[in-house]
């Protein structure tokens, strides 16, 4: 399993990639592997969302999980690719399979997240 060193991680298995004032959010390789085939992603949040708040749900065949925002910000964009091809998240969870793009409200929040090593320890890898 793959956990890129340049990303930040949460205990709910989301990743954050800072890109200037913005950031991309998705779910980790561990999460997509546990979920199985992703069939639908429902983004319910818009505008400003707090750190840790649910911004939507991700559906696999036999389960639905909440998606929690790793750092607070304003929702800028939802990845349209995963609308029609949700399996992209299974195939490429860190690049093509990003879920939302936000404008960071407080960049310091990103610093408080886990790095790859800490996350790997958390999940026992």
């Amino acid at each position: 399993m793959n956990f890129p060193a340049n990303l930040k991680y949460t205990k709910d298995h989301e990743w954050l990639r800072v890109d200037g004032a913005n950031a991309y959010v998705g779910i980790t390789d561990y999460a997509q592997s546990e979920l199985g085939d992703v069939v639908y992603v429902d983004i319910t949040a818009s505008g400003d969302v707090k750190q840790g708040a649910s911004f939507g749900t991700i559906e696999a065949v036999k389960t639905v999980s909440d998606l929690f925002l790793p750092a607070g910000g304003k929702v800028l964009e939802v990845n349209q690719k995963i609308k029609n091809a949700p399996e992209t998240i299974n195939k490429d969870c860190y690049n093509d399979g990003w879920i939302i793009k936000i404008q960071l409200a407080n960049p310091a929040e990103a610093n408080g997240l886990m790095d790859a090593e800490a996350y790997k320890k958390l999940i026992g890898h």
Binding site: Y40, T57, E59, V61, K62, T63, V64
Partner: protein, 446 residues
């Protein structure tokens, strides 16, 4: 699974397997003071014959529709039930099976559900149908919940006269979620569009119309749908599927959700149930619908198979976020409806609907000529109509029962429906039946 009861040998073997001498040993942790001692005060057993006699005597007190000339409707109709349905549905594979939870093992059941769903979509013009609901009333109630959840609004407007039982079920289901259900109706037999336009607002989650409505009248569904959509509300139609043999499809009328009672599709009257509800929607509401969904797919060898699909909607997975707690269907009666539609086919349903309509109009015409009898509403109707009577409807019903005629339903039984005799005519009524009814009513004509 075998339904043969356990023998004494079976019990002995089970007790031995868990290392217990007798059944009493399993109860020894219950305090002696709490144990009931002595004989249970219930009558001793009856033989099979004694039981049959006893139950038979009770059953004799009921009037079975098949011994009567039935003009009673009000949501449950005496349409013909083809003989093949009884034979097929009493096969033990269908009749004794509970709703499958390891669903994919029951390919036959899932295929039947898929066929049912496909037929409901063909009948209503909607994109998706679920595997069926308990009945028309609860199906309509569930539609209210879906509309409220989807729009974020908490008011349901009922346009025109809805079946009082349906209204009560909707209110019961909506009460806990603090959704307000209110009727908008002027009292002339059908929805009042001018009144409706004033009452529907941006607080309205959905407008519901029953088609045909409780009094049998045909509503201007397309116009009502337009009023709903103009206010951003959903449009729900509670339909009689038999009427879809000749009426415009709900989809063409702009329905977002279609509910209804499929009892008229090959299910006998059975003292009010069990019946089967329908629930169909446009694609954009797919993920919000209650109940089960059967889907067609291929297995790993490329062979066609059926599964329960989109189960993530249901409460066993989505818990408190599910829009409904329904996770079952009326499997056996859904099957009856499916067999019925397969047997009579598209043309057959047209014939059933046309025959019912024509016969109802024949009877209405003949009755209106009698002094003191008058059609209450001046609206187009399908197979049911309300008649004002020179004497109390209950008297007519009781008197005519002695002649084996079930004359109709006395609207005085319900609150808020006004008075009159509600009469239904199905394709089963022959000319002699209807002439006999009219002749019997002459005695009351002024």
């Amino acid at each position: 699974m075998s339904f043969v009861p356990n023998t004494d040998e079976d019990r002995k073997a089970m007790l031995a397997a868990i290392g217990v001498q007798s059944f009493e040993d399993l109860l020894k942790n219950i305090p002696a003071a709490a144990r009931f001692r002595g004989e249970l005060p219930i009558p001793s057993e009856l033989s099979e014959y004694e039981a049959l006699r006893k139950m038979g005597a009770m059953a004799e007190k009921n009037l079975a529709a098949h011994g009567q000339i039935c003009f009673a409707g009000g949501g449950a109709y005496d349409h013909y039930v083809p003989a093949a349905i009884g034979t097929l549905m009493s096969r033990s594979e269908f009749q004794t099976a509970y709703t499958p939870y390891q669903a994919e093992v029951s390919q036959g059941t899932l295929q039947a559900i898929y066929e049912f769903q496909s037929m409901i979509c063909a009948l209503t013009g909607m994109d998706v149908s679920n595997a069926s609901m308990y009945d028309g009333a609860s199906s309509t109630g569930e539609a209210c919940l879906l509309a409220a959840s989807h729009t974020g609004r908490n008011e349901i407007v009922i346009a025109g006269p809805l079946h009082p039982n349906y209204l009560e079920v909707c209110r019961t289901l909506c009460e806990g979620r603090e959704i307000n259900v209110r009727e908008v109706y002027g009292g002339d037999g059908a929805a009042d569009l001018a009144m409706l336009r004033k009452e529907v607002s941006d607080k309205t989650a959905a407008v519901i119309v029953q088609q045909p409505n409780f009094f049998g009248c045909i509503e201007d569904a397309k116009e009502i749908g337009a009023v709903a959509h103009a206010a951003g509300a959903l449009f729900i139609m509670a339909v009689d599927p038999v009427s879809l043999g000749i009426l415009t499809t709900p989809a063409e009328c702009g329905a977002d959700i279609v509910t209804g009672e499929a009892q008229g599709l090959g299910i006998s009257l059975s003292f009010g149930g069990p019946y089967v509800g329908i629930f169909a929607v446009k694609n954009d509401l797919l993920r919000k619908i209650p109940g089960r969904l059967s889907g067609m797919t291929v297995d790993r060898d490329g062979k066609r198979g059926f599964t329960l699909t989109l189960q993530t909607r249901e409460q066993q997975i989505k818990r408190e976020k599910a829009t409904s707690n329904i996770c079952t269907n009326q499997g056996l009666f859904m099957l009856c409806a499916t067999i019925y539609l397969s047997l009579i086919g598209k043309q057959g349903l047209v014939e059933v609907a046309t025959s019912s309509l024509q016969k109802a109009h024949y009877l209405a015409e003949r009755m209106s000529v009698l002094n003191g009898f008058k059609l209450k509403y001046n609206k187009p109707f399908f197979k049911e109509f309300v008649v004002e009577t020179p004497v109390a409807p209950s008297r007519i019903i009781d008197d005519l029962a002695k002649k084996n005629i079930l004359a109709g339903i006395d609207l005085a039984r319900f609150e808020g429906t006004g008075e009159g005799l509600l009469i239904a005519v199905t394709e089963k009524r022959i000319k002699e039946d209807m002439d006999f009814l009219v002749d019997s009513l002459k005695a009351y004509a002024k």
